[in-house]
Amino acid sequence: MRLADWFVMCGALAFVVLYGLWRGRGSNSVNKYLLAGRTMPWHAMALSIMATQASAVTFISTTGQSYVDGMRFVQFYFGLPVAMVILSMTAVPIFHRANVYTAYEYLEQRFDTRTRALVSAIFLIQRGLALGITLFAPAVVLTVILGWPMRQTTLIMGAVAVLYTTLGGAKTVAWSDFQQIMVMTAGLVAALVAAVLLLPGSVTFPDAVALAGAAGRLNAVTLNLDWNDRYNLWSGLIGGAFLALSYFGCDQSQVQRYLTGKSIAQSRLSLLFNGMAKVPMQFFILFIGAMVFVFYIFERPPLLFERTELARIQQPAMQSEYRPLEDRYNQAFENRRAAADRLLQARHSGDTGRWQEELKAYQSAQQEFDAARRDGVSLVERAGGTKGLVDTNYIFLTFVTRHLPAGLVGLVMAVIFGATMASISGEMNSLATVTMVDFYKRHFRRAAPDHHYLNVSRAATVFWGCYAVVTSQFANRLGSLVEAVNVLGSFFYGGMLGVFVLAFYFPRVRARGAFYGVLAGEAVIFAAYFFTKIAFLWFNVIGCLVVVATGVLISRLESSRA
């Protein structure tokens, strides 16, 4: 990074954090610290919800995923607007009327302490682990760019986020998120414009879109119904809706964002805005990845984007195998570039027959190029490196640091770093809230002055920050980061959603049915993961249905015995 990049990055981040602290000043009671005194307007909550969800993972990994696999990942978000409508109709008024700090407090009102404790514990485990992954993502950035050691990097990132979250609480989190989304939008638009402008002069924007489409990178909607296929229209609409219902309805990191609203209407509007904006936003981010793919048709990318593993196979001992592979890779790149040029000439000529012929040649060249990259991954394994290396997470960052102009690199880095801070601050805030409200206050000290609980909340925030740093040390073993976060969520969300469905819609279900329903749901989800090949998005559906069925069955048996 150049001086201008450091200036832009540090300036943008300092502004976001200081603005958040300024808006969050005076959080001197538990209500203000955890729920911003329930004073937040809908637009601040909406952007805070989006910022909490859109971590650095979203930018680092999603763009890379589009580069490798195309845009079909956007379907994962198709269920989200449906979920936002359902939650606006049900969860928002119920939680507001219940006057709760956490979603799990409501479970005690509806069922019993045991169910509340079980679901709260599931949340702490799941969100705590996800927190580590969220913190790991920007550490990848610093390692790639500056060669900083991962451990120190996560420590610094965690410390900054802990500092302002601990000082300012929910209000600071929300207002810094608000500014962060503005920075994100600016950074993403700039990255897309730069990717298109950096293409050769002869390649127009429609040409670039045509090349991405011809390589299968614009597959935004796929209609095939395949249970083992992670992303298609049906898994997105149904599985995605269940995942979004779980995430926004049962995960305190999101529930807490809209509980800060000054009215039911404001909270509803924040969710509905998110429902309308999220899908186009993800489409846009994936489209950036597709344009980066086109850029690298004309600019030779490294054989592997993960520099450490690339250096491993370039060492003298591996040269006898690396040299022929490099020659083959370079030839495959030249062949693909030439095929792309011919395809564009065919496109401009308007000759359909010639287009079809050149399309086959282009796709064949792409396959040859992909095969050379796969052989690079195999060589890494033979050299004693990572098995089944996935370098998806390094693609966008390589493009940014090597090809974007000074200043713009700093802006994109500010997006990535700020997104991480926005996510982990919201997550730490919610983890601290559940720790204090659902465990400390409920089970250890039920009556104490407000300032005591305020101090406990701050101490819990620091604890979860430390926990995040420790768990982030293991996150680099999880492949594509964005998928890792979602897979992890799917292990637990189905069970959590099921118990809230029972609470909202099945008034006859009792505490015992709800408790054992959650246990049964989790057991079935883990069995599905270990013994079947069912795609993870369906775990939410399966888990939820098992919880509901078990809860209803047990409650009916109880009623018939009574």
Binding site: V30, L218, V221, T222, L269, M276, A447, D450
Partner: protein
């Protein structure tokens, strides 16, 4: 909920809020329908986009 001493209760007139209409489209039902309609429009647009540029 009967909150124990210590944490201050938010305390709002939630029944009144329940009736508060949305700022656009006149009713919550219409706004919900608008969000679903927007989703349908996006899916159709993306589908046509994907087909237009399919290999």
């Amino acid at each position: 909920m009967n909150r124990q001493s210590g944490i201050s209760a938010p305390g709002e007139d939630l029944d009144r809020q329940r009736e508060e209409p949305p700022p656009v489209l006149g009713s919550w039902g219409r706004l919900y329908a608008g969000v679903i309609g927007w989703l349908a429009l996006l899916i159709c647009t993306f589908y046509l986009f994907a087909r237009r540029y399919a290999p």
